[in-house]
């Protein structure tokens, strides 16, 4: 059987058509095929959250979904969300609150934080911790990340 798959999807609003090996996961596809390297590859088995990508409006693990499965989907990465300005306030707050150190977790953390604020505009600190529990950060100890997300929630509600 054919081990390649033809896919057509949109990535950050741009139509993309490629022929890919079926085993290519979505995060490797956007990184190597499309050279969008903001989504990071950490554990490759769904634990760390560094590969978080948005598919059809919802965050997913980019390492636990095949590019083949994204045929017909709308995919958004940190590059797209950065360019359209939709998370500029989160990025600013992460910067100002030192919620970024090495930056490896940051793209996934930002996409996760944005989904939280869309689903729950008034999260408690506990809600924030629960929602980002699937994204490992090995630098900050999370305190600054929770602070930054909390600040943006307050600002958006002001």
């Amino acid at each position: 059987m054919d081990q390649n798959v033809d896919i057509t999807l949109t990535v950050n609003g741009q139509p993309v058509t490629r022929r890919v090996p079926a085993r290519t996961n979505l995060v490797d596809f956007v990184r190597y095929e499309l050279e969008l390297t903001g989504s990071h590859v950490g554990c490759e088995h769904g634990v760390c959250g560094a590969c978080t990508i948005r598919v059809d409006g919802q965050i997913v693990r980019g390492c636990l979904m095949l590019a083949a499965q994204a045929d017909g989907a709308e995919v958004e990465t940190i590059e797209g969300l950065s360019e359209d300005g939709s998370i500029a306030d989160l990025q600013q707050a992460f910067h100002e609150r030192n919620a970024v150190q090495c930056g490896f977790c940051t793209p996934g953390m930002l996409l996760t934080a944005e989904e939280l604020l869309q689903k729950n505009p008034t999260p408690s600190r506990e809600d924030i911790r629960e929602f980002i529990s699937g994204n490992y950060c090995r630098c900050t100890g999370y305190q600054a990340i929770v602070d930054a997300i909390e600040r943006v929630a307050n600002e958006r509600n002001a």
């Binding site: 079926a22 085993r23 996961n25 088995h45 769904g46 636990l64 095949l66 083949a68 499965q69 529990s133």
Partner: protein, 284 residues
């Protein structure tokens, strides 16, 4: 940490799935949410020749409630189940367990049916399915059969599902008036697999237990229904003596394996701690 090569088929209907299962047998794997399968493929713990993607088959993701029975389609995503008012009303134990199932990005993809079919002994939903008398709906070319959750889990990752069958949904009788539920688990990080977890459903009328069902995850080679502990509770008052007797009865119910979290003795201790907490929560 990349999967071995395989072919991929996006199935359009169930007949095509059954054809592919006939053709490829053990060399094929069903791809639903993929949140366990993809990890095992990435680690090359599994190397199928073909993946059959069932995500685009119509009619497998609905959650319906006819007032008596809740039906959860196999492809209902965890996040969909978590937010379902019908699930909260008809099967509160599922609703209570669901926040413990992985993390948002995984809940957006992972499916209810996939979790049941994979039958991980440390997962929440297989254990819960035993406490709520769920029926597992298995479809093949020959039709659909219903298997009680309590007959479904046969061993470590082993179920009553046959190679030519697809899990298409789960039916749950709506919770009866007066029944209470509690779900607790211990995990190193919220959303990770539990070290040990417990689900409880039953009655406390006039301070006396009845119809008690206790299930454990992470405490054996499959989700465990703790019938000895339930027998101790039923007909007895909710007090320290009864709870202690139920804790002691777990010796007959549980046979936890040693794993990365610790030895069996530690898991037995934690199971007893959770039992007391869950019964306290049930009475609250």
């Amino acid at each position: 940490m990349k999967p071995a090569p395989f072919a991929y088929v996006r199935a359009e209907n169930l007949a095509q799935v059954f054809d592919l299962l006939d053709e490829h047998g053990d060399d094929a794997r069903i791809l639903a949410g993929g949140q366990s399968l993809m990890a095992t493929l990435n680690m090359r713990l599994s190397a199928p020749e073909v993946l059959i993607d069932i995500n685009h088959i119509d009619g497998l993701s609905d959650i319906t409630n006819d007032g008596t029975t809740l039906r959860i389609g196999a492809l209902a995503r965890h996040s969909q189940v978590l937010e379902s008012a019908d699930v909260a009303k008809m099967a509160p134990l599922i609703a209570q367990a669901m926040p413990h199932v992985a993390h948002q990005a995984i809940r957006n993809r992972g499916t209810f049916g996939g979790s049941i079919a994979f039958a991980d002994p440390a997962a929440e939903l297989p254990a819960v399915s035993r406490a709520i008398d769920a029926k597992i709906l298995l479809q093949s070319r020959n039709g659909t059969r219903s298997v009680a959750a309590n007959d479904f889990y046969l061993g470590l990752f082993e179920t009553a599902m046959q190679p030519d069958e697809l899990l298409v949904g789960v039916e749950v009788p709506g919770i009866a008036d007066g029944e209470r539920t509690a779900f607790l688990e211990l995990a190193r990080r919220s959303g990770d697999y539990a070290i040990v977890g417990i689900g409880v459903q039953g009655r406390i009328d006039g301070g006396t237990f009845s119809d008690m069902r206790l299930v454990f995850l992470g405490a054996g080679d499959r989700p465990i229904l703790a019938s000895a502990a339930a027998d101790v509770l039923n007909g007895n008052p909710h007090n320290d003596e009864t709870v202690a007797a139920a804790q002691a009865a777990l010796d007959a119910d549980l046979d936890p394996m040693s794993d990365l979290n610790g030895p069996p003795e530690m898991k037995m201790h934690l199971a007893r701690v959770l039992t007391k907490r869950a019964l306290t929560a049930l009475a609250a």
